[in-house]
């Protein structure tokens, strides 16, 4: 069930319209959510801000796995190019889109996808460039919630077990309290 991590394609997340002060923690949480639920890459756009990239890289160093983080100053150009290339599907998460349940039925699991997550004002052009405009419910909530639920439904979570190798620590599920394994360097 769902897309397996072992496929030879990638999941990228493009964060539009980041505002350095106002979105500091939301953007940081968005990238961590992308990483935790199977994305391979996050692309920050809007204000150029090293802070979320530092957070994401630091978490990857401690908790393992490869997670690419970069800044893109011209996100619309990237989207236009991606739309033209036809190698990658563009999935735009928006409360105005079609129901996720319907889109998941037709979304292929074996193509690369670029998930676009809006900030405040998403340019109208994005709706046209997207292959799918997808809503996770039609109530206002959060880009973090939308990304989390989308990835949780699209990616096979069991296939992620091996994604986070090479870190310094590992959390072991436990009934009460905390169980943290410190991994030795080889």
């Amino acid at each position: 069930m769902g897309r397996s991590e072992n496929m030879n394609t990638s999941i990228s997340v493009l964060r539009l319209g980041h505002r350095r002060e106002r979105d500091k923690r939301i953007t940081s949480h968005l990238g961590l959510t992308a990483r935790a639920f199977g994305a391979d890459e996050i692309i920050l756009s809007g204000d150029e801000d090293p802070s979320p990239l530092l957070t994401w890289n630091s978490v990857s160093n401690r908790f393992g796995g490869e997670f690419i983080c970069r800044y893109e100053s011209k996100p619309l150009r990237l989207l236009r190019k991606t739309a033209k290339d036809k190698n990658t599907l563009i999935v735009h998460l928006t409360m105005y889109g079609e129901k996720m349940e319907e889109i998941l039925k037709k979304l292929p699991f074996d193509e690369s996808i670029l998930i676009v997550v809006g900030g405040t004002k998403v340019p109208g052009e994005v709706y046209g460039l997207a292959d799918y405009n997808v809503s996770i419910g039609n109530q206002p909530h959060s880009e973090v919630a939308a990304l989390a639920i989308f990835l949780n439904n699209y990616v096979d979570i069991d296939s992620l077990n091996n994604k986070f190798s090479g870190g310094e620590i590992k959390v072991v599920p436990t009934k009460r309290g905390k169980n943290i394994l410190t991994l030795e360097e080889e």
Copy 2:
């Protein structure tokens, strides 16, 4: 599948350790996520801050439904009382807990639940007071993501269709662009 909105029990979310400046938008998104995915109530604790409550009430006025928002200055007292009462299950979302998939198999759908969502430092006592400490993956991500995925798996989303009545506007799912219905007052 999942818990139906029509049951005579409630879902509350307790947000621990809110910090007025740092958590402004995360807490706001957390409450909107609670509302959008079927919680009946959110209880804010930590810094006393009217701003998220104003946001949540304003969204309910515009988009409909009953969503209770309140501030609680003594969250641990509330948790101890809830743990003693035995009428309500306490579900603590934490990256250190047992896997959600396992817990969902045994979590009843016909009891009231109080979902506890941590901020920075969650007191150790909370892990003991909780009936279930539940992790949504064991990677660091976001309390917004954790709440979103938990509710999306626990609540039957189709049962929410009638939850949001009485609002001023309604978003209609659409392939491109935005379709917003303005509802007339009766």
